[in-house]
């Protein structure tokens, strides 16, 4: 046994042990620990590196929205709606553990007003305040008398003398206007012109993004819907909730993962069989891919403790690249002298193989430089998968494939012959014309290329979900969770004062119907300043001696002592309402998410907008301008701008990677190095130009694909440069096989309905095809080659 052979055997055995460990670990992960991939789309977004208060405000808004599930059951007739809603609820009631329903609690309603009643002298609406400044005491006396003599005198809270001027009643009514939802017959009710709806608000007790939760909750909802429709045919059911979107996204991703993965595998199997006429190479390639995937899974789990479904989807395309090493070895084995030992052949191929692995890993590592956790996982997963597949080829293939065991089919000979007639780029007129034509066409295409970094392009929920969401938002007049104002100050009081200043500015936008209203903590708890001013205003206009109260006393034939008593009673309710007291009572529950409280040594709150028109966003952004402590927050724009910044940043990384790879290849290829990179560079330019002609705006994921294209394309360049002779079909065969497989895997990604993957896939599709077709053109003119000289025919 030669030392070389001995060493090879040792390495193969060591690798077998590693593979056994991987198998055991994977069996443990899937079988014992039963891990499930994450599906939270937000986990793919970068952690906000900047403002912790801003981050806290997102968490507040998102947390309060994420676990919520809202269902509206509607029919033209209220009783039908109720019957359908009861049928719906009955199904869910059998699984009470999954939902924390918000019951219509009598006690809540009863206590609802108690706290405010104790502070009623400091709570006024803005129109009341204006009226108090404008109207004479007689006006207030008359309105009090009218209330008094009317039998069922409109809305009234408690005894008449507790609120003789109806001011507190008016304030409470204004608060009730903050939502169109009303209690009715023990249900929550809301209506539009056509239908009356029962509102069923639910809070999930299981995480909305867990696959398990989605698999239990969604069938239940479907069953509940069916029961409701059975109870009342034609009933309208509108559902909205993060879990519905999450479930739609995961089922789409899961479906695509199997399509892309299986499609890619089927393609590889067919191609390998056509090439080698044997099942052995297929099983060998599958072996290397399988070990690559298992290794990537194991190590990623150890590194991150979690895996995102998108990582796996992207990882499915790994199959397309991981095969290159096996294919390269097998094609060379096929073409080499059967007498040459496989180990000696491998040693000869090793420099090229090392370079291809390095270039691909550098390509994937470019993804790891982005701040997107999901992309980092994808990068590490892919790079690891490649390393494991590569090591399998290097350690095991020479043992498993001996010379003379592979035959090629007629298809291979015909395909190989094509290369003899393939055009070559030489310093001549034809090449110059081609270069000119390419420059003009590519330039024109790229000039058409626009950019669009809108995050909404990346998520395309099913149309019915969007429709339901819009309708529900309209019916409930709910605020948008992604656009709001963030208000900050040194104390709670300053924050409330700034909210009030902001609300005064927004009043014009409400009047112009750009928004329908504002939700803010200061609606419920005005700043101390405002409460004191209102108290003083009441003192000056209504309560002062000779004011409306005294006039009223005269009109009802009562003396000053009656007025004194009423005044004293009102004065007891004149202490300002404090935010901490409000936060303690249950009435504040629906509004607590607006109050961030003490964060980072300051105080902060959210002013949310109801019924926002999207066209009004620029106006709203302006409205907060110049106000101290007030910041317009638009998470959609925020993330889109992050995507935009990283598109530009990644563009620079791609150019940098070309330089690094060039440097990496220089020692081996010297003056021929440009020939390795030229096909990939040209293909990338052409892909960009085609995107321009197709009218697809450039976004981060196109640029990321160009990065990966570099890794893949350089492989082909290296294969071709390693064996530049036109009569040598081996590299051409390896490139063809591998490019076809890459096209199959990434071509299928271009069919994905996830916009990001589609963009990625399309770029890879165009790019890979072009690299394949261009790579023979740039091979250096005939020169004796080290590998060929040594006898690889």
């Amino acid at each position: 046994m030669t030392p070389l052979k001995h060493q090879g055997r040792l390495l193969a055995i060591a690798w077998a042990m590693v593979v056994a460990l991987l198998l055991a670990h994977n069996a443990y992960l899937w079988g014992v620990k039963r891990i499930a991939p994450e599906t939270d789309i937000l986990a793919l977004l970068p952690v906000q590196e900047r403002d912790p208060v801003l981050q806290a405000s997102f968490t507040h808004m998102v947390d309060s929205a994420q676990q919520r599930l809202v269902v509206l059951v509607g029919a033209p007739d209220w009783n039908d709606a109720r019957r359908a809603a009861d049928a719906y609820s009955a199904v869910l009631a059998r699984h009470a553990g999954l939902f924390a329903a918000t019951p219509l609690d009598e006690q809540t309603q009863n206590d609802w007003l108690a706290l405010f009643q104790q502070h009623r002298l400091t709570l006024l609406t803005a129109p009341q305040e204006a009226q108090l400044r404008k109207e004479a005491p007689a006006f207030w006396r008359d309105s009090a008398l009218s209330q008094l003599y009317s039998p069922f005198g409109g809305p009234k809270l408690g005894a008449w003398q507790d609120d003789p001027f109806g001011l507190f009643g008016g304030w409470v009514q204004e608060r009730a206007q903050e939502t169109p939802v009303r209690p009715r017959d023990g249900h929550l009710f809301v209506a539009d012109g056509e239908r009356q709806y029962v509102l069923l608000p639910m809070t999930l007790t299981v995480p909305a993004f867990s696959l398990g939760a989605q698999e239990t909750v969604l069938p239940l909802l479907a069953q509940a819907q069916a029961m409701a429709r059975q109870a009342v045919p034609g009933v309208e059911i509108i559902s909205a909730g993060v879990i519905l979107h999450a479930a739609a996204a995961s089922s789409q991703a899961a479906g695509e993962m199997s399509t892309i993965g299986l499609g890619s595998l089927a393609g590889i199997i067919l191609l390998t069989w056509l090439t080698f006429r044997s099942v052995k190479p297929i099983s060998l390639i599958l072996l290397s891919i399988g070990i690559g995937c298992l290794g990537a899974l194991s190590v990623c789990w150890l590194l991150f403790g979690r895996l995102h479904l998108m990582t796996l989807v992207f990882g499915a395309s790994l199959i397309g690249v991981a095969q290159d090493y096996g294919i390269y070895f097998l094609c060379n084995r096929l073409g080499a002298d059967p007498a040459l030992s496989s180990r000696a052949l491998l040693l000869r191929l090793l420099p090229g193989l090392c370079l291809t692995l390095l270039a691909a890993v550098i390509g994937y590592m470019g993804l790891a430089l982005t701040p997107f956790p999901g992309l980092r996982h994808m990068a590490v997963f892919s790079a690891l998968g490649l390393v494991f597949a590569w090591l399998t080829v290097v350690f095991w293939f020479p043992m498993l494939v001996q010379g003379g065991t592979l035959r090629s089919g007629a298809l291979v000979r015909r395909y190989g012959a094509v290369r003899m007639h393939w055009p070559q780029a030489r310093a001549n007129r034809a090449t110059l014309l081609c270069v000119l034509a390419f420059a003009v066409l590519a330039g024109a295409g790229m000039a058409r290329l626009g950019v669009n970094d809108d995050i909404r392009l990346l998520q395309t929920p099913p149309a019915h979900l969007i429709r339901d969401q819009l309708k529900l938002g309209k019916l409930l007049d709910a605020p948008t969770p992604v656009q709001f104002y963030l208000v900050r100050g040194d104390s709670a009081e300053v924050v409330l004062q700034r909210e009030e200043a902001l609300k005064r500015r927004l009043q014009t936008l409400i009047e112009q119907r750009h928004i329908s209203g504002v939700q803010a903590m200061s609606n419920w708890v005005p700043s101390l300043q405002t409460q004191q001013a209102r108290r003083a205003l009441l003192d000056a206009s209504v309560l002062k001696p000779g004011g409306a109260l005294d006039l009223l006393a005269q009109s009802v034939d009562e003396g000053p002592e009656w007025a004194g008593k009423v005044r004293a009673q009102l004065a007891q309710a004149g202490a300002p309402l404090l935010i901490d007291d409000f936060l303690k009572v249950r009435a504040s529950e629906p509004w607590r998410h607006l109050w961030l409280g003490e964060v980072q040594g300051g105080y902060a709150s959210i002013v949310a907008l109801r019924g926002m028109q999207y066209a009004a966003i620029p106006l709203l952004a302006q409205a907060g301008g110049g106000m101290p402590g007030v910041q317009w927050v638009d998470k959609v724009a925020e993330i889109s701008s992050v995507l935009g910044r990283y598109r530009i940043y990644m563009g620079a990384v791609v150019l940098g990677a070309y330089l690094v790879v060039f440097g990496l290849l220089m020692p081996r290829y010297g003056r021929r190095t440009w020939r390795v990179l030229a096909p990939t560079a040209l293909a990338s330019l052409a892909a960009l130009a085609l995107l321009g002609y197709l009218g697809q705006p450039l976004q981060l994921f196109h640029v990321l694909a160009l990065m990966l294209l570099l890794g893949v394309g350089v492989d082909y360049g290296i294969f071709m440069q390693e064996h530049p002779q036109q009569r040598n079909h081996t590299p051409w065969l390896a490139v063809g096989l591998s490019a076809t497989n890459t096209l199959l895997s990434f071509g299928l990604l271009a069919l994905s309905h996830t916009a990001a993957l589609q963009a990625f896939g399309l770029t890879m599709l165009i790019g890979t095809a072009l690299v394949w077709l261009l790579s023979p053109c740039f091979v250096a003119p005939e020169q004796p080659d080290a590998a060929d000289a040594a006898g690889v025919a």
Binding site: E106, Q109, L113, S150, P155, A159, R182, P183, R184
Partner: protein
């Protein structure tokens, strides 16, 4: 508003409470005329907690089956309350002082149903919301209503009705100590009972 909120809770019971009337109630129902149109004069006296003198007012009212209630205070401050199936409108003179729409405030339907039942003496309907305790003495009857719903009981306290072929007196005691008593007189029935002016308001 509190009354409205509490009344809304009370509406809960519309769905679940048994809608059958006790024996004397059935007899009282038989005594009531229940005409299509019913108009007349009312005299209201309101005794507020902490006030020495009751506040007196009077006016005209109309109850039209299937339409609603018109309540016009003429003295001392003219104002009109119109309760129909879909809304409650409060006029101060010509001005609309308040309008509650049943589409957005479903409790309007319930308030209107209760008031209509009170004025028309529809005890079976009232039984869904109140415990009805009645007694008959010759041609007259008396009924005491106690809200079935604790929250509503807390707001309204108790209601007493008495009458013969029509409701004659209503007295309402609120938990706050305010008391209202209304006496009906000069009752007319039939299409001619409604004046043209009143018909125009409906």
């Amino acid at each position: 508003m509190k009354v409205i909120l509490k009344a809304a809770l009370a509406a809960l019971w519309l769905a679940v409470a048994p809608a059958q009337a006790a024996a004397p109630v059935a007899k009282i129902e038989a005594m009531l005329a229940k005409p299509q149109q019913l108009c007349g004069r009312f005299d209201q006296s309101k005794q507020l907690a902490g006030m020495k003198k009751p506040l007196a007012s009077n006016g005209r009212f109309c109850v039209v089956a299937g339409k609603g209630v018109l309540w016009r205070t003429l003295q001392p401050f003219p104002n009109t309350l119109r309760l129909t199936r879909d809304e409650i409108v409060h006029f101060q003179g010509e001005r609309v002082a308040m309008r509650l729409d049943a589409k957005t405030e479903p409790v309007v339907k319930m308030i209107n149903s209760v008031l209509f039942s009170l004025l028309a003496g529809d005890l079976a309907q009232l039984d869904t919301l109140f415990e009805v305790d009645g007694s008959i003495d010759g041609n007259t009857w008396q009924v005491a209503l106690k809200a079935r719903q604790p929250a509503l009981a807390k707001a309204i306290g108790g209601i007493r009705l008495d009458g013969g072929a029509f409701v004659k007196n209503i007295s309402i005691s609120e938990a706050s100590g305010d008391r209202t008593s209304i006496v009906f007189s000069a009752i007319e029935t039939g299409p001619a009972a409604i004046t043209a002016q009143e018909a125009a308001l409906f």
